[in-house]
């Protein structure tokens, strides 16, 4: 699903966020990316969804050089990548439900389906009572889950999650991981960037660590 070959990213003037990163992520894999703050995790995810362009190297998603996509093709590709951003990127003046619906609206899902899906996701993330709450008035932990719900709502084949549990207690974290596992089990490729060891300690998935821009294997995943 994801193919990165000798990818470097240098932010101007001279911040080497990623150095010669080569990485293959298989279809349907759940992949953990860890590393200290500032190690380059967010940058790597941004390269995968074309929010940043690599300084060097090749980034392919679903067999396509993501840098070469423009216009309609790029839009279609982005519909197939659900991203939960570290800074959420929620519309704070809209309700939680509206925020989640956006990713489905742009691919013209039926509104009855959207309603059902939004309700279902809110329940699974223990936000059932926040359906009509204004997003700006939610706590950070709640906003984080809304952002996650938006990322997975359209059932994209690739899900990128940046620090999904930063503001959550143990129980809600469990709910989040259950949801992401369900996505994986229904065939999605899930990439989770986190500095929180607890969420991958007890799993059998592959874990890699970024240290000042370089990628190191921490643990090989169990064979798919």
């Amino acid at each position: 699903m994801v193919e990165m070959i000798k990818v470097s990213k240098i932010y101007p003037p001279q911040v080497r966020a990623l150095v010669d990163v080569s990485l293959t992520i298989n279809n349907g894999e759940m992949f953990f990316l860890t590393g200290a703050s500032g190690a380059g995790k967010t940058t790597l995810l941004k390269l995968l969804c074309n929010m940043e362009v690599p300084t060097n190297g090749l980034v392919e998603v679903a067999g396509k050089d993501i840098q070469k996509l423009r216009g309609r093709a790029l839009a279609k590709m982005r519909q197939k990548i659900g991203v939960a951003y570290q800074d959420f990127k929620l519309l704070l003046d809209r309700t939680a439900a509206e925020n989640i619906a956006i990713s489905m609206e742009v691919s013209y899902k039926k509104s009855a389906y959207i309603k059902k899906r939004v309700k279902n996701l809110l329940e699974r993330l223990s936000l059932a009572d926040k359906h009509d709450a204004i997003t700006g008035e939610l706590s950070r932990g709640e906003q984080q889950r809304v952002a996650l719900a938006r990322a997975v709502a359209n059932s994209p084949p690739l899900i990128l999650v940046d620090e999904p549990t930063g503001n959550l207690d143990a129980v809600t974290t469990e709910g989040v991981m259950t949801l992401l596992n369900a996505c994986k089990n229904s065939g999605a490729t899930v990439v989770i960037a986190t500095h929180d060891e607890s969420i991958f300690r007890d799993t059998t998935h592959r874990v890699m660590e970024l240290r000042s821009g370089r990628l190191h294997l921490v643990r090989e995943g169990a064979a798919l």
Binding site: Q79, K89, L91, S103, K110, R150
Partner: protein, 295 residues
Amino acid sequence: MNFWFAVFRQAGRNLRQTWPSQCMTLLTVSLSVLIFAFFFLVYTNMLGVGDKLGDDLRLIVYLEEEPGPELQEQLRRKILAFDEVEDIRFISRLQAYERFAAQLGDDSDVLADMPQDFLPASIEVVPLKNLRSLTQLKLFSEYLAKLPGTLKVQYGQDWIERFYYFIRLLSIVVFLSGGLLILTSVFMVSYTIRLTILARQAELELLKLVGATNNYIKTPFLMEGFLQGVLGSTLGLAALYVLFQWIRSNFSGPGFLAMFEFTFFKPPFLIAIIAISILLCTIGSYTSMQKFLRT
């Protein structure tokens, strides 16, 4: 179909968020349509009036003596040398007499004692009915008066000339108000759309990130421009129609104006005005949209 559903939903949100400035723009567009259409209506009606007045407009050149065929040909050439004309008619003394008698009708017996050649021969020159010819009647009559063998030139209706000057002036006003219409609709619409875009910048950026196509982002705004054009021009024309009816019912008593029949625009012309307004407003929103999508 789902696409249009999404577009309408998006446009509805835009309207809810920026309706005060949308209303302002609508008002400006309708006002400029009203102003332009008003002057244009006056102009076309005045042209109609001019047509009526001009129907029996002619310059009569009285001649010292009856011209022979050769002289007639020479005079004709001289006249045409000044300007093209609708018609040149030579009226002999006898014809003039007969016409006069016909005009007198039952009273024609007063002519019984008169010699049949007491009226002078003349040339009737009917000018072309276009603005250029009609605004230089005076020059034309001066030119004709200088032709050899003329007694005098009569056209007496030099107010007609002034009338046509007025029409010419009016056509300039029509031009200017047309320009105003173009400016206001394009710029006001593109300005309000830009306001909307700014107000919703965060959302539009996000839409791009979650994979909205350019059409998904663009179409609601284009539709806003389109709607501004439809509503603005319709409102403006409706206001003009009300004004027109009011004037007609208040000034239709006996008097100068009652001589002429004032008419409103024909449907094809109304449709043309609406179509042009739609086009202008859509161009306005399109330019704003392009600016946003390029960045």
